[in-house]
């Protein structure tokens, strides 16, 4: 800056440096101080504590169950042993792989449909007027009610399962992406216009680019919904996939297999979530400072 203008006198205490004032000891922060602060270590420890508590509660519930009914609530150890058995002896890897494949492929197709639709509607109000009443209404059709229809149309195929997963999330995804696009500040669009940017430049390189981190966030939230639909998709006429393994377990009252399946889906869900966050970290470096 123009340093002739704004400099403060600062060299009046340089003669002899006095002892610095003693460090101030702030009052100890209570565990439940309002809002408060949390260090990285603290949040890791607390997070782990939460997970361990959940498993501890499970284990306690198991121990409190009368012995002759304990097979209906197996212990953490029994379930993990069963999972190990499933992986090593029963080819569970193939089932997990199949489920992951169905989730990701169906979700990928849902994004291929939802992102262009959301961007189109969010950018052009008349397209929104044309499409949104219909697509918005479709959200209220429960995806599970499509199961019989898909069974008639597609039979006990992979496509039927992926179609259900697709229907379960695509309409919500459109709505979320529409919101993300509409949340782009009007001033950014106007700024681009005064730079001489055309409509397509603005749609792809301003609005979409500006909303991209939020769109990825919407995707992360919706793929979680996809995971919740997995078992419904794999309940009917499925021979493979995590859901099918669980249903087979149910037929023989193998609660440990069912709980193992639930655990697997939970872990895969968390891994998916983490992978989206990692992707965001690398794709959108400008959002790092804010997180």
């Amino acid at each position: 800056m123009n340093n002739t203008v704004m400099t403060a006198p600062s060299d009046n205490n340089s003669a002899e440096a006095p002892e610095p004032a003693p460090l101030f000891k702030p009052p100890r922060e209570k565990f439940l101080s309002l809002r408060g602060t949390v260090s990285r270590t603290q949040s890791t420890v607390l997070g782990l504590l939460g997970v361990i508590s959940l498993f501890a509660l499970w284990e306690i519930a198991h121990l409190l169950t009368p012995e002759h009914q304990q097979k209906f609530l197996p212990s953490v150890g029994q379930v993990t042993n069963k999972l190990f058995y499933l992986f090593t002896e029963k080819g569970y890897f193939a089932d997990v792989g199949k489920s992951v494949y169905r989730i990701y492929l169906s979700f990928f197709v849902a994004c291929l449909v939802a992102i262009p639709l959301g961007v189109l509607m969010g950018s052009f109000i008349k397209m929104r007027a044309l499409i949104n009443p219909t697509v918005g209404g479709l959200r209220y059709l429960p995806a599970a009610s499509f199961v019989p229809l898909l069974l008639v149309y597609l039979g006990p195929t992979d496509q039927a399962k992926m179609a259900l997963l697709f229907l379960g999330c695509v309409f919500f995804l459109v709505a979320l992406i529409l919101d993300n696009i509409e949340a782009v500040p009007q001033a950014l669009i106007e700024a681009a216009q005064t730079m001489g940017a055309g409509r397509f430049h603005i749609v792809f390189r301003v609005t979409f680019r500006s909303a991209a981190p939020q769109i990825l966030d919407s995707m992360r939230n919706m793929i979680a919904v996809s995971w919740t639909y997995l078992v419904i998709a794999e309940i009917v006429a499925a021979t493979d996939g995590i859901g099918a393994v669980m249903m087979r377990g149910a037929r023989f009252l193998h609660v440990d297999v069912i709980m193992g399946g639930i655990l697997t889906i939970g872990i895969l869900g968390v891994l998916t979530d983490v992978s989206f966050r990692v992707a965001a970290h690398f794709l959108f470096p400008h959002t790092r400072a804010r997180r």
């Binding site: 001033a187 106007e190 005064t194 430049h201 991209a212 400072a289 804010r290």
Partner: protein, 282 residues
Amino acid sequence: MGIFQNNDNAAHHVALEAAQKEGTCPLSVNRATKEYLNGERIAVDDLSLDIKEHEVTAMIGPSGCGKTTVLRLMAGLEFPTRGNVESFGIPISGPAPERGLVFQAYTSFPWLTVIENVQHGVAIQGYSKTEQRERAEHYLKLVHLTDFANAYPDELSGGMKQRVAIARALAQDPQILLLDEPFGALDAQVTWEMEEMVVEICEDTNKTIVLVTHDIQEAIYLADRIIFFTRQPGRIKEDISMEFKKGRRFKRKEDLLSEPGYVEMEKHLYTLMREEIQGPPK
């Protein structure tokens, strides 16, 4: 003039030729009326105004006087209900890079670094990669942001963000720079620095500038001419030439304060402002 005076830009040439035609000026508002809510609210009422080339014109007035609306009409972001707005004799039909605009809101693109932001506007004008870089570096230097070229806007202070916006608007080589309360969100000390920077920019580029502000001192300091607006509906109350400055620009704001005529001008504008807010003196 610097190397970026860019005389080979075709659009620039066309407009310059047009400007030399008799009776055309960079911006001319002809009996423009802007109504909102189907005429329930009249923001601008039958307003005519010619902006002179290479002058800094400040539009000032109380809140809700339509000064920002007039600027948006000039930018082409809105259209008048009646009348028209012309630039170099050509009716304005939408936003164009010849009329660069700096908004009060922060409009740097958060996903681009500072230098990429400035380059973005240049790229749209169709400059080559090396020219883009050169122009961006030149204008970043002009706004004293060279050291922050690779930072993201979210890492900058409010004043720095507005400097990015100014550099970006200048780098697209507009004939007219429109400033819409650009320092409205900044604190007093940063505003002061920014005002002195605008004076530097005037010296360096000799741009035609239209500034919307509600700050009387700022208007006097920066402008060659002040248009004072009445409140609802927006009309021109007074068109005041800053003759007491004798065409000089003051690098340091305090040098202006001791200039003969300054105090009278400031007092006059405060009187006008009070009249608009409280009605005529009893």
